[in-house]
Amino acid sequence: MECTQFSDRLEALLDGTLPAGEQTRAEAHAAACPRCRELYTLMRGELERPVETPGGLTESILARTSGRACPRAQTLLGDHVDGTLGGGLDRELVDAHLQRCDECAALARVLNRLGEDLPVFAELRPDAALVDDVLARTVRPARWSAVWNRMQDTARQCFARPRIAWEAGYVTAMVVWLVFGASWSPLRAAPVQALALMQQRAIDTRVAGASAMTAVNRRVAAVRQRTIEVTVIGADRVTSGFFAGLSDRYRHAAELAPDLDRHLRQFAAAVLDRDLFSGVDALRSLSRDAGAMLNRLLFSPVTTPDSGSVPEQRSTP
């Protein structure tokens, strides 16, 4: 095999696609020809020796040219972790960067872990009454009341705005001016008329009040005078009648004094005679007389001889 033929077959020899006979002849030529053998071994990479570069050379070059590649790598880290970066050159470049950059590698690991931990916060379980509250505000009202709820919500949002006070004042002023201040308004003279009417009514009320108070004062004075007269006369009558009645009652009761004395003597005689039955009868008559006297003195009406009343029956021994 000539050197030119070996050169033509060298690529197929390295790929291993050369037929077996051709491969044997090519390797025999390489073993015999120093020049072709050197070329063959060089192409197979056997002569490659690792070249040691000074430490930090890459960083020094990057610092003087593009700067660190970390910001660019970090813009792709999300897609790299999600697997959406594809299998192209970007993925290969990011992989190579992560092998040499500890900071970006740590970020990639944290991002990978966060992809598992963050969805935990997607859902929270509220208290059980929330569903009931929502249904009470939605389902239970009839369909037509949804319109009313919407109006309420709109009004609530309207009133919740900070400028509602200014707007309400402005609208009120405009309405008052349109109703009472505009030249074409039929109610333009209404405030003046209302004020005059109020003033006239105030005057009438004051005059009527003064006359009513005069009449009341007169009536009060008359009642006071009459009360004084009735009180004085009545007191005189009551006092004189009381003492007269007391005297009559005393005299009326004193009429029973002889009977009381007689029965007292009978009781004393029975005690001296040691007569029990006579003593008891005398004591009973004595108590009856005492009761009759007390009744006449306090309760029974005074009986006069011309009144026709029946005289009180005297007790008998």
Binding site: L107, V110, L114, P119, F121, E123, L124, L135, A146, R150
Partner: protein, 192 residues
């Protein structure tokens, strides 16, 4: 699940109250979680969740059928933004602090933050999430947590898809930086 939601929505549009109840039960968790992340309070999130579903119930006729969950979360996000604007315009009056806490009534509503804080891993991610600025946190909420597509987020925010993609990548890297700043060994922890 998506097909189920679509079928439920179609039933709801026909006036089926039973389907509406099922729809509320199946979607309330995501609405509540998103509202909580935006507003940061249990009661506020609860009230806003109610408002969202009332709004959805009233506007079911205008739903075009292109992704109910994205539509639902868009309404949630818009109401949250309105709520936050109102709060900035008129901050709520602060309650007087009771001197004796024994008289304070216990809050019966479960606080998600408290439950997350009990889990060390969730607490770490939640703390890192709270360190992000508003746009980055919103991007994480919508894309990584709620799982919305770039196109849906772009329509929601009114920006091009490329902008959403770049914002999302930046937000994720920023979140990863915050996580490493809090706990460098986060990625090496075993699955709990």
């Amino acid at each position: 699940m998506a097909a189920d939601v679509a079928a439920l929505v179609e039933r709801c549009r026909q006036g089926d109250d039973l389907a509406w109840e099922r729809l509320v039960r199946s979607c309330q968790g995501r609405v509540y979680a998103l509202a909580y992340h935006y507003l940061g309070g249990v009661e506020q999130a609860r009230d806003l969740t109610q408002e969202v579903f009332v709004r959805v119930y009233q506007q079911l006729g205008t739903y075009k059928g292109d992704g109910f969950m994205a539509w639902l979360l868009r309404i949630t996000r818009n109401l949250c933004i309105d709520q936050m604007r109102r709060q900035r315009a008129r901050p709520p009056a602060e309650d007087l602090v009771a001197e004796d806490n024994e008289w304070a009534l216990p809050d019966t509503a479960p606080d998600p933050e408290q439950s997350w804080l009990r889990d060390g891993k969730k607490r770490l991610v939640y703390d890192a999430l709270r360190r992000l600025n508003g746009p980055s946190r919103e991007m994480i909420l919508l894309k990584e947590i709620q799982g919305l597509q770039l196109k849906e987020i772009a329509e929601m925010l009114g920006v091009p898809i490329g902008t959403v993609k770049s914002r999302s990548n930046r937000a994720r890297v920023e979140l990863a930086r915050q996580v490493i700043a809090i706990d460098p060994s986060y990625a090496n922890q075993a699955e709990s």
